[in-house]
């Protein structure tokens, strides 16, 4: 009995026999022990529970999103370096084929779903309520649930590296390869459940922010007076609302195929894999716009702040955002022009794809003309924005080249494509979110990040990026296909692959500089005295102390124009009278709750049970989820009021800091 159990643990449960994975297992084990010891030694368990795990405060949830995303950036980045190391030399035997396939699969899934998405939600959470003058999001409890569902979904996905086996059918898991016939292992089930659980959270977040933005703006703030970042969040969240249900349904059908032997996407029994490819891209294409639109929002706010000038063409910008999110739903088939759907279909999708270049191009011109006749200061967020423009313009151009269907027959699935989407995702999304992080960091934590180290990181990221990805365009034209784990010397692909690998390691070095930068800035903490850390803040988040008190605004601001805080500063500077302060009133706040955390743990348990086909585990997991829903339904004590004297004390203390 015991022997059977041990056999199972060593042969099936844990992945054994690979030094790389053994190393990961040991380091995961050690760091978990270290965390438990540290929490116990410093008596921080209660603090962790009451301040973080049960919090419904959007600012803290945002910070947790950012931390999780940076950890995932590390994991996905290590995957990338392993891939590049394997490809540096012809026929290298650094990773064997199966392992290589698992690594590029997890690299893709993690970077898009568990790095870009949470970093994006982190910025949403930290910034949106402050920008629109609200005290929290519309559904704070749901917000906490969204985070924990994302977190445990990501954990379920990541655990497959050491337990059960990683998925290895590509980040979008095309059937029939991802069906039982092609992937009999457990990795694909970890993939389905990891993404499903976090996907529920993403959908809920999308809904949450649409409602927040539509219903919770400060008195007087019209839609056309919202900061551009908030607009971008609105367009992105609307896209989430329409796109994520498609993902959920698609993966659910794949799950039924694998778990119950259905035939939605199998080859036999009337199944059709092409249906999956269509469905997954109906989500997948809007998904890339979901992550890029908020980056556009960040750039708009940053450009206008550090050019000390109003954003040029506000209405055009709004129209461009909304039309991009609309058209993003009509381009999915450009991911498979080579499926042979015929010239009619290909021509249609080629043109819808090109159409997106129009509003995107207009946005670039508007950013340029925001700087035109402005005064540009080269702060860290502005540097990332300035690096973004040329990078994204080039990436967009190669995107237009790919959209030309008959030319795509030659680019498809080659390194040309790889270079293109990394250029728009790194040059657009990653640079954008970095710009956002540096920009709002003082608002989150009350101190700025060290400038010198940040510049090192910036330059290394940029140089590394071009050294890594420019050669990949050339490799694509040389016929190198993505997902090759090895190639022959006589193809002549080797020199450019070496260059590309060097570039990847330069970006790895850049990431280390960023970690160093954060550590250094914490150690030599320079507390930010004013709430308006950059001095040129234009929107409401800069009108309150940093970090913001838990209720954000002691008095809800009255807004009568875009750039409300900038206008107010101008008015005071021109000798205007300070507005009379309205009397304080008790503030209505949501209570913390442990249910989202507990419910997500049960989701994790159920997901793990589904992966292993362990009914004894998945049933209690699902019952646990149900009980949490019930417990919440009968919980009437969900809110409270902060009394006026407590607000007065908090405000006085914050004034002291200022």
């Amino acid at each position: 009995m015991f022997k059977d159990f041990m056999d199972f643990m060593l042969n099936d449960f844990f992945i054994t026999g690979d030094p790389l994975i053994l190393g990961a297992q040991v380091s995961i084990g050690l760091s978990m022990v270290a965390i438990v010891i540290a929490l116990t030694y410093f008596k921080k368990w209660r603090w962790l529970w009451t301040e973080w795990l049960t919090t419904v405060d959007h600012k803290k949830i945002g910070i947790m999103y950012v931390i999780a995303a940076l950890l995932m950036l590390f994991r996905g980045g290590v995957d990338a370096l392993l891939i590049r190391t394997q490809l540096a030399l012809p026929n290298l035997e650094f990773l064997h084929a199966g392992h290589y396939n698992a690594i590029f699969t997890t690299h893709g899934v993690i970077m898009i779903l568990f790095m870009a998405m949470p970093l994006m939600f982190g910025l949403f959470n930290i910034v949106v309520p402050l920008q629109i003058g609200a005290r929290d999001v519309a559904y704070p409890y749901l917000n906490s649930l969204s985070f924990w569902l994302f977190f445990f979904g990501a954990m379920l996905f990541n655990v497959s590296f050491v337990i059960g086996g990683s998925p290895d059918a590509g980040w979008l898991a095309y059937p029939p390869l991802s069906e039982l016939s092609g992937s009999p292992g457990l990795g694909q089930d970890f993939y389905i459940w990891g993404i499903q659980i976090s996907g529920i959270g993403s959908l809920a977040s999308g809904i949450n922010f649409v409602v927040t933005i539509l219903k919770m703006r400060a008195p007087g703030m019209k839609l056309m007076q919202m900061p551009m970042f908030t607009w971008s969040v609105l367009s992105s969240s609307i896209t989430i609302m329409f796109a994520f249900p498609i993902l959920t349904v698609t993966l659910f059908l794949l799950f039924i195929d694998r778990y119950l032997g259905a035939h939605f996407f199998t080859l036999d029994g009337g199944g059709n894999p092409m249906m999956y490819i269509n469905l997954i891209w109906m989500w997948g294409h809007p998904e890339v716009y979901i992550v890029i639109l908020p980056a556009f929002g960040v750039f708009s706010d940053v450009v206008s702040t550090f050019s000390k000038k109003k954003l040029f063409g506000y209405k055009s910008m709004v129209f461009a955002l909304m039309s991009i999110s609309f058209f993003s739903f009509f381009t999915w088939a450009h991911h498979f022009f080579t499926m042979g759907s015929g010239a009619d279909v290909n021509a249609f999708f080629a043109i819808t794809t090109m159409l997106i270049a129009i509003p995107t191009g207009v946005k670039v011109f508007n950013w340029l003309f925001t700087m035109f006749r402005g005064r540009i200061t080269f702060t860290q967020p502005m540097l990332w924005t300035l690096a973004f423009i040329p990078c994204f313009v080039v990436g967009g151009m190669t995107g237009v080249m790919l959209s030309v269907a008959p030319a795509d027959f030659q680019f498809h699935n080659s390194y040309f494509l790889i270079a293109h989407f990394h250029q728009v995702l790194i040059g657009g999304v990653v640079f954008g979110y970095f710009a956002g992080l540096y920009y709002w960091w003082p608002k989150m934590f009350g101190f700025k990040l060290h400038d010198g180290l940040g510049k090192w990181a910036f330059w290394l990221w940029n140089i590394g990026f071009y050294v890594c990805f420019m050669p990949q365009y050339a490799l694509g034209l040389m016929g190198m296909t993505r997902r090759f784990n090895e190639y022959n010397f006589d193809m002549g692909w080797q020199p450019l692959n070496v260059v590309s690998t060097i570039g990847a390691f330069i970006m790895g070095l850049a990431f280390i500089f960023q970690v160093w930068q954060i550590a250094h800035s914490i150690k030599f903490l320079k507390k930010e005295k004013s709430g308006d850390a950059w001095g040129d803040g234009r929107t409401l988040e800069w009108s309150i102390p940093s970090p913001a008190p838990m209720y954000n605004f002691a008095r809800l601001p009255e807004v009568s124009s875009s750039d409300a805080w900038w206008e107010e500063k101008q008015r005071l500077a021109n000798g205007g009278e300070p507005k009379p302060l309205a009397p304080l009133e008790p503030i209505h706040m949501p209570r913390n709750s442990g249910i989202p955390f507990i419910m997500s743990v049960f989701f994790f348990i159920a997901g793990f049970g589904f992966v292993w086909h362990w009914t004894w585990m998945l049933v209690p997991g699902l019952i646990g989820v149900g009980c949490c829903l019930l417990a919440r339904s009968f919980d009437y004590d969900t809110d409270y009021y902060i009394p006026v004297d407590e607000i007065e004390r908090t405000e006085a203390a914050l004034k002291g800091v200022r």
Partner: protein, 329 residues
């Protein structure tokens, strides 16, 4: 100084990439040896130039604006913090991309119809049919007219249109010979048509371009274009010297694993169509998909094609008659 480096480095690197791609026969896509690849190369260059019309001015404008309006004491450039709108300017930059995209769209539509993969090439010669099947993890080629078969190797006569019929036994793949022309997916249950032609003698690189599992990288093959006479004598030599591919031999070949080049003097009749139709079940019902056609009902040959890891019953059916041009010519 530092600011100018910011633009110089990426520009130099981009320039390097462009320069590199202009020369050298390693750039297979830009060094085509057949009419299809030739047209695609032309199209690629048209898009490059159209894109450059926007790209170059925007990059220059960016550098200029950033330099001119930097916040520096004594910078005499205009400063208008409240200038936020100009109908004239915004009309201009809505119009520029619209015009460029309109031109590009027109070109694209024309080429999309011209280069439709299933469209026969114009030629005085009759096309030769070659069937390509993606197996785990090797390519099987069958020549229905000549009756020979090869693995990971295709020989074709030059200046003759080749009508490739492409399918996959299991995972989806993509059939790509960069120097002859663009790719088409190899999908199970589908027979895709791709016309290609080689105008020059030579050996060209071919590969699978869509991930099919563990040893996907081994799915490369050689395409050798020879003169008509050499082609005929090659067919004869394969016929006389190579062994025949039997049903059992095919089952062996289907087992997961990579393979060297192989040659067979014969193969089971209708092998390719069997692979395409293998999921048409005994009851013969065909799922209505893009105008279903009924039958032909094929019994599954023997018990021979048990795809071992599949644990569903094979009672279903499906001939994915995807679109009319693919299956019936």
């Amino acid at each position: 100084m530092r600011k100018s480096i910011r633009y110089l480095v990426p520009l130099m690197l981009m320039l390097m990439a462009v320069m590199l791609s202009g020369c050298g026969d390693q750039y297979l896509v830009l060094d085509p040896k057949g009419p299809v690849g030739e047209s695609q190369k032309d199209l690629i260059w048209i898009t490059v130039w159209l894109c450059a019309i926007i790209l170059v001015p925007v990059l220059i404008l960016t550098a200029y604006i950033v330099w001119r309006y930097r916040d520096k004491k004594g910078n005499k450039a205009e400063y208008q913090p409240n200038w936020e709108h100009s109908t004239k300017l915004e009309t201009i930059w809505w119009a520029i991309p619209i015009i460029i995209i309109a031109i590009l769209a027109t070109v694209t539509i024309k080429y999309t119809y011209d280069l439709e993969p299933s469209k026969p090439l114009e030629s005085a010669k009759e096309p030769i049919t070659i069937e390509a099947t993606s197996l785990d993890w090797k390519w099987l080629f069958t020549y229905p007219d000549e009756g020979i078969s090869t693995v990971n190797y295709v020989q074709i006569p030059e200046d003759t249109p080749i009508r490739f019929r492409v399918t996959a036994d299991q995972a989806m793949n993509s059939f790509w010979i960069p120097q002859l022309g663009g790719q088409i997916y190899a999908m199970s249950g589908m027979a895709m048509t791709l016309y290609l032609q080689a105008d020059e003698l030579g050996t060209y690189f071919g590969s699978g371009a869509n991930f099919t599992g563990e040893q996907f990288a081994k799915m490369t093959f050689d395409v050798k274009a020879t003169s008509d006479a050499d082609y005929k004598s090659w067919v004869e030599s394969v016929k006389s010297s190579a062994p025949a591919l039997t049903e059992e031999g095919f089952e062996q070949l289907k087992q997961p694993g990579s393979s060297d080049q192989q040659f067979f003097s014969a193969f089971p009749k209708g092998l390719f169509d069997q692979v395409v139709m293998q999921y048409v079940g005994e009851n013969g019902a065909i799922a209505p998909h893009h105008g279903a056609k009924s039958g032909p009902v094929k019994d599954e040959e023997g018990g021979g094609h048990d795809t071992s890891s599949m644990n569903h019953d094979m009672d279903g059916m499906e001939a994915m008659n995807h679109s009319s041009q693919t299956d019936q010519e």
